[in-house]
């Protein structure tokens, strides 16, 4: 879902560079509370895993594919603030090292995948947390739904950006229909990958799943 330069006009690209910078700056401040000696390495590994899995485009229709965005996955495993930073790092490396995703488009790409996607995934996951705490099946379902919504809302980010200042003046309804249709299918893949990943981590190291924090009796030392 990495857009190239030129799909959005210059003013809109700049506006979203600012939006992304403010959002990432805010996440940098808030992330500190969720990072300690144990979760910091986990967060690095989550970013790395998202980079790796984003390389794997899976077919959705003849002539069309999709790949993981990773917002919900990151939010569930390491929380929304750290999660947004994980996806941002991936997008920056992809744009600078692999020429994947434009440079002036980086703001819009970060806004869609790192900010909107992660926020959407987190909000849905938290709303459904009580099901996730019931066991593996519940956690898988919550991960799937959060990831599906994260994909659709990240796609919606592009639709909105294109409506504000896209190149070519294509009718927005046409863009929206294609984006939502394709990303409803991609969202299923995103949901499956997220569900498998989150439940795998939870079965080995449930203490490293941010969403489940506090669901078990915490080993809190009261002073």
């Amino acid at each position: 879902m990495h857009m190239s330069d030129g799909l959005l006009n210059a003013p809109v690209s700049i506006v979203f560079l600012v939006v992304a910078a403010v959002g990432v700056g805010f996440a940098l401040v808030k992330a500190r509370a969720d990072l300690d000696d144990r979760t910091a390495p986990m967060a690095g590994l989550v970013a790395t895993f998202i980079f790796a899995v984003q390389m794997i485009n899976f077919p959705i229709l003849p002539g069309a594919s999709g790949h993981l965005l990773g917002g919900a996955l990151a939010a569930i495993l390491v929380g929304p603030w750290v999660g947004a930073l994980c996806v941002t790092i991936v997008l920056v490396v992809q744009a600078l090292l692999f020429a994947d995703g434009g440079l002036t488009a980086l703001g819009a790409n970060v806004t869609n995948m790192a900010l909107i996607g992660t926020a959407a995934g987190f909000v849905v996951a938290v709303a459904l947390r009580r099901f996730a705490e019931k066991g593996k099946g519940g956690l898988a379902a919550v991960a799937f739904i959060s990831a599906f919504v994260n994909t659709l809302l990240a796609a919606t980010g592009f639709i909105v950006e294109y409506a504000i200042g896209g190149a070519g003046g294509v009718e927005i309804g046409k863009v929206a229909l294609l984006m939502w249709g394709l990303h409803a299918l991609i969202g299923i893949g995103e949901g499956l990958i997220t569900a498998v990943t989150v439940t795998s981590v939870a079965s080995i190291r449930p203490d490293l799943v941010h969403l489940l924090k506090g669901s078990r009796k915490p080993l809190e030392v009261r002073s």
């Binding site: 030129g6 500190r32 910091a40 390389m55 794997i56 790949h67 863009v175």
Partner: protein, 94 residues
Amino acid sequence: MKKFFIGFAFVSLLIAGVLSYFASGDPDGLDKTVEDTGIAEHAQEHPFSGSTFADYALGGDDKFTGLAGVLGVVVVLALSFGLFWVLRKKSDAR
């Protein structure tokens, strides 16, 4: 604890280094949308499109996609681990 982290890193390496050869080459949802609507005509060439690892290849040769993937894994791991380690709350109260 260490075992889990090493395993997680290894899975990422395997995906980027090996599984990446089996990825679909078709356009993703956004690319498909902009291609089918003609928006893609306005896309500009990436400023770094001629760089060594552009498009997850080595000098344009995608026989080396796995190598580019491994490099990406190492770079993302170093950058993100570095950033999160610096940002973390120090456990100084012990």
